[in-house]
């Protein structure tokens, strides 16, 4: 669907992932087929390098959509804030 405008997603990286990527947040416009948290993770991993290694399927990466913990099948909509981070270690 080349004529469909891409949706904009705000992506946030925290803790070890922020350091590894060298960026804390960015606005991305993934292609139309990227409709879930899992698909966004795979699309970012396709950048290669540290993106591929940190977001590889076997790595423990947690996701949140609009500040709620989200599973891989969580749907994405334009304007969502999606965060990627390691398992939490507070308390």
């Amino acid at each position: 669907m080349p004529d469909t405008p891409a949706i904009k997603i705000d992506v946030v990286y925290l803790a070890r992932l922020r350091e590894a990527f060298g960026v804390g947040s960015e606005r991305v416009e993934p292609p139309q087929g990227v409709a879930t948290a899992r698909a966004l993770r795979e699309w970012l991993a396709a950048r290669g390098g540290v993106w591929a290694s940190e977001l590889a399927p076997g790595r423990a990466v947690r996701m949140a959509v609009n500040h709620d913990l989200a599973g891989p099948e969580a749907p994405l909509r334009a304007g969502d804030e999606v965060a990627f981070f390691p398992p939490v270690t507070g308390g």
Binding site: L14, A15, H67, P86, G91
Partner: protein
Amino acid sequence: MPVRVQVQDFDVSRELGALRAGDARVGAVAAFVGTVRDVNDAAAVATMTLEHYPGMTEKALQAIVDEAKSRWDIVDALVIHRVGELAPADQIVLVGVTGAHRGEAFAACEFIIDHLKTRAPFWKKEATPAGARWVDARASDDDAAARWRLPEGGPGR
């Protein structure tokens, strides 16, 4: 009711006093205080820096408190979590719960800290003689939170 994320230290006595102030329904106050240890995974810890995810943190903590209130007959609950740079022996977190009786207050307090450790977006980074390192999550924390799961079809989550 209150959930707070802050850099500054907290006074446990003052916070618990405020939580139950003037409320004669309260017959029990249970509290948990987490503090910084000077050794973790066999390495000396000089300082610990706590990072969080502003916006999500408060929402996650409030959801945990709300769930505790729905599961136990408690009067009120308080969570204060510090962020920024901390030193060994510093206070990190306070969970306080008031209730009519100790059983519900103890259980709700333990539930809240167990879920904070697995659901609230905080991360610890330690400065050690070998350099700075992010603290790894512990499987035992997942186990601690999992034991509160209700049977399928039961109330709550």
